[in-house]
């Protein structure tokens, strides 16, 4: 099962410049700038306090050296007072920062989700759910972590700068000495960042194939169980897990090395200060003892931020990369664009395909120069070999995909000129895969028409011949169906999705193998209901069971995207062409007469 890792290549990852990303991101900030500003304000306050507080201690040591003791108690009170102020500033700062990051993340996630809602179906054909999930759940979170971390870094950069300034005032000579290790530090960071980048990339790809594999294996658990593949899939997964482990250990060991290195380097700095400072103090009395103490104390505050900053570059990269993945997903251009403004109702339900060409992948066409005219109120049946393009026709009518050439006219107007949502709301359809959502039976039936009355729901369920089943449930309409309708039999799922389509009261009805898993008797009942409810509506019915299609006004036989025959049942039988052949084969097996 190593194939699970192959996945589909990330086609949509464009490269954005860092600038672009930051500009994009800042748009999300605007709404929450209040919190950002108060965060920044309190960062400055907190930084100032952090830098001032040690002065009380320095004064104390210096005083003491000079034998002055009367201020000590006062100093300690000031120290405590300032510390409490610092705590308050830090509280507000952290809280504001959380608000800022959580809210911007909320907005970004929201934006991403709603943008994805407007992407077309081919987008979902190309992108695995698992990958999209990790964009919307993990990458947004990673970005948030990075932003939250940034305020921390800002504090520390300010502290480091402030410290350097103060150190300069205390003793410029010692400060310069301290700074001699900076080039080494920069060198360290440069080396670090290079390795960090490649390790992170490696890790990202290994963890994402691991997650992919998890997702697929659990989604397909029934298959692996049914075929007794539990053990072997586990071993496959284990292999990926081990691979990820190796990469992850390598990466995290590397990342954890940076602190000890910076610590060692910073202590070389300390050594220089103590050595040179100590000797000079002895020889010249300058710096004073208190100054030296203070200098050493501040030195700590200089190196610690530096340590954090060294790892920040990596976080910055990770954050920008996450942002890029998010934005690139937002920016995908759907081929199906909702640019139409026509909101007139579909009154007649006339459909015309005019010289339509379509292919999914731009090379093997499913339809080439296809023409079909469907009259208002007509019932059309599509029959044909599997893969001949029947479901594709339905998808095109729903504008799931954009046709490459030609036009589709609905009531003589170009399909593209209609507002997409408005247009779709006139259609009722049962797709070949009758997907239900977790929630109650009622939620599912109401899906396309949430405002329907109780009575309408019941009527739709009755028409779909599923009312009796619903009534048998302990909770009736409020019975849960679970993800994908897992609690129902396949036929029941189809029935409910038929009810769902009925409730929309569509102008055009599309049934793609809607009754394939339903016995012929129930199907006949449903057919009757369709005739009754939707007798003047245009409908397209796809079925392999030829008894289903017999009564259609017109039967269209598709082969490789071309209409090879059309007419009503009796005409076609008389004609003795492909349909007659299909029908005869079918009935040679289906008829009971023998």
């Amino acid at each position: 099962m190593s194939f699970l890792t192959k996945g589909l290549e990330e086609k949509y990852d464009r490269t954005y410049s860092d600038r672009e990303i930051i500009v994009r991101y800042s748009k999300f900030i605007v709404k929450h700038k209040k919190h950002l500003f108060s965060t920044i304000f309190f960062i400055i306050i907190a930084t100032a306090l952090t830098l001032i507080i040690p002065f009380t201690l320095q004064i104390a040591v210096d005083d003491l050296e000079n034998g002055i003791t009367e201020n000590l108690i006062l100093l300690s009170m000031i120290f405590l007072g300032l510390s409490i102020l610092l705590w308050i500033a830090e509280y507000i700062l952290t809280y504001e920062n959380t608000k800022f990051t959580s809210r911007t993340t909320q907005d970004i996630r929201m934006q991403l989700f709603s943008d994805i809602q407007h992407h077309d179906i081919s987008f979902f054909d190309k992108n695995k759910t698992g990958k999209l999930m990790s964009r919307i759940m993990d990458d947004t979170q990673a970005l948030a972590d990075f932003v939250a971390q940034t305020s921390n870094i800002v504090v520390n950069v300010l502290i480091a700068i402030g410290t350097i300034v103060i150190l300069f005032f205390i003793d410029p000579y010692l400060t310069l000495l301290t700074l001699t290790i900076i080039p080494f530090l920069i060198l360290l960071i440069l080396v670090f960042r290079k390795i960090a980048r490649s390790l992170s990339r490696e890790w990202r790809s290994s963890i994402s194939s691991l997650n992919d594999s998890f997702q697929e294996n659990i989604a397909g658990i029934k298959v692996s169980k049914s075929f007794g593949r539990i053990e072997s899939t586990r071993l496959e997964f284990e292999k990926l897990n081990q691979e990820n482990y190796k990469v992850s250990v390598k990466r995290s060991m590397f990342f954890s090395s940076i602190f000890p290195f910076v610590f060692a380097l910073s202590n070389v700095g300390l050594y220089l200060v103590l050595y040179a400072g100590g000797l000079s103090s002895i020889r010249t009395g300058n710096p004073s003892m208190g100054t030296l103490v203070l200098f050493v104390a501040y030195l700590n505050r200089f190196y610690f931020p530096i340590m954090l900053i060294t790892t920040y570059y990596q976080q910055l990269q990770a954050g920008l990369a996450a942002a890029e993945r998010i934005f690139s997903l937002m920016d995908i251009e759907s081929k199906v664009k909702n640019t139409g403004t026509n909101k007139s109702n579909i009154e007649r339900g006339e459909i015309e395909f005019k010289n339509v060409s379509f292919s999914y992948d731009d090379n093997t066409p499913v339809y080439r120069d296809f023409n079909l005219q469907i009259n208002p109120g007509e019932t059309i049946a599509l029959v044909g070999h599997t893969g001949s393009g029947k479901s594709t026709l339905v998808s095109l009518l729903l504008r799931f995909y954009e046709i490459q050439y030609g036009e589709i006219l609905i009531d003589k107007q170009d399909l593209k000129s209609y507002d997409l949502h408005h247009f779709r709301s006139h259609l009722g359809m049962v797709l070949q895969d009758p997907l239900l959502f977790s929630g109650t039976i009622e939620d599912n039936i109401r899906y396309g028409n949430p405002n329907a009355s109780e009575n309408e729901v019941e009527q739709a369920a009755r028409a779909a011949n599923v009312w009796e089943f619903i009534k048998d449930q302990t909770l009736g309409l409020r019975e849960e169906v679970r993800e994908r309708g897992g609690k129902l039999s396949q036929g029941q799922r189809q029935l409910i999705s038929i009810a769902r389509a009925f409730l929309v009261n569509p102008r055009i009805l599309l049934l793609d193998e809607a009754t394939a898993s339903i016995d012929a008797y129930s199907e006949a009942l449903i057919q009757e209901a369709i005739d009754r409810l939707l007798h003047d509506r245009t409908s397209i019915i796809i079925a392999h069971r030829l008894t289903t299609v017999k009564r259609a006004d017109r039967i269209i036989v598709l082969e490789k995207g071309e209409i090879i025959e059309q007419g009503n049942h009796s005409n076609l039988i008389v004609k003795g062409g492909k349909y007659a052949e299909l029908y005869n084969t079918y009935f040679a097996f289906q008829e009971i007469k023998d």
Partner: protein
């Protein structure tokens, strides 16, 4: 690497062992695991590699105290070097300080590495355990869980466990050592201040404990909301076509918005608690008091309490050391906050994982289960079945038998229990009462994994993996020859469309096979089942999306292939039924009749209702 992996049972053993030590108190509610249990679970995983664990502890014990010697050494340098104007002492102490720092850095490095390895180990193990446990769960479990949630646990929660350990362990260890070192160093300066410090420490701990207790439920909350959000997103993406077909994008967006807001709110709530980190306030007070005491002592080295005169040797040197310590006291408290944050999230994750893995698994590989060679004689004896979570019986009093070579067709209205019957055969579920025997052995005594290897299924709701056609067809076998692949593809009529694809068998078919037509998917699933060369074949409505002619060809092929073996075929189509030896007619969970086609047609009402052409087309009759 393999031996680092430990079994679930080992962990349970450790937990049991620990609970005997009376360290773990079982919470009365068995579903909500206590923090302690979660903690010991992690601890159990950690201590799997004793050397590693001890290495980390040793590393912390060495490098951290060394760091604390540095301020003392600085004090010495200042005092006996600068103050005494002794240049040699300055040089000496400076060098000692450098060496100490380097040694400390070295141990820090080693310890960090060990810590990372340990945390990765735990992550690796937890993920294996979790995956294995999810896999091993009964179908009832899977029926009820949401994929999005299970995924969120696999990604987020396991990751937060990792963060709890690295740098969690290290930081925690450091914080502890730091506190001890503080105490020692303070005592070295003045035992009086030392005592004062010791008196204050419990307040510090208490505040941390309180803070943590406030934080934990919020972390659990936040993660729950996250999972719920995640599962919403998952479902929305899976159902993207339906969402669009019904123009419900706006509604979905609204729903997402609500969930997203709830999640964000829970995040902010936790953020508020995290921000209001009062242990820091406590430690500021401690610092202030220490400062005050040091100041007082340096002014009055001799304290007189009543008749007692306490003499302290507390001069500039001691005062300086105290000051350096006070400045640094902030950092352990600061660090503890990060640890607690990681831990609260980590433990919340562990609790969730634990609650899942401790749920019963189906016994797939039990040692005392039989692994007979399956021939294919099947007997159902008075089988009743209902799904775990519902009260209605789905199957009632089912008795019949099938011999090798039989083709059993199953018909019946929607929801009559046909698919369920097949699921009992593969032991995806076990009968509520009654027995199923395969080759005279009760099915409950046969290892499911073994049984399933002799059975091949084409399910009604086909699942294909997001990969190539080849990978999907060969999914169920360990090895295959190209000839086999082509042979079954011919049989299932897969070649017919694969030959037209540019990449042939190596075409990627998209998630769940979205890039194929319905009939193409069914045929791939069929080929997948045939390649197994099964003793028992189960076809659940497997040709519903295939036209009659193709269907007939497939059926004839299967008929050949399954000679001498047992097949069960659920279908609505007569041509499949007519090849069957027996037809089972189901109605509302009962076996309404058994017979062959012509018997049933004359004798059975339900059967006739389904297949009688007059009934089939009520309208047409009227028309004519």
């Amino acid at each position: 690497m393999q031996n680092y992996l430990i079994k679930n049972s080992d962990i349970m053993k450790i937990i049991n062992y620990l609970s005997k030590l009376d360290l773990v108190q079982d919470s009365p509610d068995t579903n909500s695991n206590s923090n302690k249990e979660a903690f010991f679970w992690v601890f159990g995983l950690l201590t799997q590699r004793k050397l590693l664990f001890m290495g980390i502890i040793a590393g912390i014990m060495i490098h951290q105290p060394l760091r604390f010697i540095i301020p003392v050494l600085i004090g010495k340098l200042l005092d006996s070097g600068v103050e005494e104007k002794n240049e040699e002492a300055v040089k000496f102490y400076a060098l000692i300080i450098l060496i100490t720092a380097l040694v400390s850095a070295f141990f820090d490095l080693v310890m960090s590495w060990l810590n990372e390895i340990a945390a990765n180990d735990v992550e690796l193990n937890t993920r294996s355990i979790y995956f294995k446990s999810i896999q091993g769960k009964s179908m009832s479990f899977h029926d009820e869980s949401k994929l999005g949630e299970l995924m969120a646990i696999a990604q987020q929660d396991i990751r937060s466990l990792y963060s709890a350990l690295a740098p969690g362990i290290r930081i925690l260890g450091e914080a502890i050592v730091t506190m001890v070192a503080y105490t020692v160093i303070i005592f070295m300066q003045s035992w009086l201040i030392g005592i004062i410090f010791l008196i204050m420490i419990p307040f510090w701990f208490q505040s941390i404990k309180k803070y943590n207790e406030g934080l934990n439920p919020l972390a659990v909350n936040q993660q729950n909301y996250f999972r719920s959000l995640s599962s919403h997103v998952q479902e929305n993406f899976t159902g993207s076509a339906v969402v669009r077909a019904f123009s419900q994008e706006q509604k979905e967006i609204e729903l997402f918005k609500t969930k997203n807001n709830t999640y964000t709110k829970s995040w902010e709530e936790r953020g508020k608690i995290t921000a209001m980190y009062y242990p820091m306030l406590v430690s500021y007070f401690i610092m202030g008091i220490l400062f005050l005491c040091s100041a007082y002592l340096v002014i009055n080295p001799n304290i007189i309490i009543g008749d007692l005169e306490i003499k302290q040797d507390f001069g500039l040197e001691q005062f300086t050391v105290m000051i350096v310590l006070i400045i640094q006291f902030r950092s352990p408290t600061f660090i503890v906050r990060n640890v607690l944050e990681f831990w609260s999230l980590g433990l919340a994750g562990v609790k969730k994982i634990q609650s899942i893995i401790t749920e019963a698994e189906e016994d797939v590989m039990g040692d005392n289960l039989l692994k007979p060679d399956i021939i294919g004689k099947i007997v159902f004896n008075d089988v009743d079945f209902k799904y775990d979570n519902s009260d209605n019986y789905v199957l009632k009093n089912i008795s019949f038998h099938a011999n090798p070579g039989d083709i059993i067709a199953i018909v019946g209205p929607t929801g009559s229990g046909k698919s369920t019957l097949l699921k009992l055969l593969t032991r995806l579920y076990d009968p509520t009462s009654g027995s199923i025997k395969v080759d005279e052995i009760d099915i409950l005594q046969i290892s499911p994994e073994h049984l399933r290897k002799s059975i091949a299924v084409v399910e009604q709701d086909i699942f294909l993996f997001s990969s190539t056609i080849r990978d999907n067809i060969t999914y169920a076998v360990d090895s295959y020859s190209e000839d086999d692949l082509i042979r079954v593809s011919e049989l299932a009529k897969v070649t017919e469309f694969v030959d037209q694809l540019a990449d042939g068998y190596d075409t990627m078919i998209g998630e769940r096979g979205v890039r194929l037509s319905g009939g193409q998917r069914q045929r791939i699933a069929m080929a997948r089942a045939l390649l197994v060369n099964p003793k028992i074949l189960l076809l659940d409505d497997s040709t519903s999306a295939v036209d009659a002619k193709t269907e007939d060809e497939i059926v004839s092929a299967i008929h050949e292939l399954m000679k001498g073996r047992t097949s069960f075929i659920i279908t609505n189509r007569l041509n499949m039924i007519k090849k069957a030896n027996h037809v089972l007619v189901f109605d509302k969970g009962k076996l309404d009749a058994v017979g062959n086609h012509s018997e049933l047609l004359t004798q059975n009402k339900i059967y006739r209702r389904i297949f009688d052409p007059h009934m089939e087309l009520p309208k047409q009759e009227e028309d004519q």
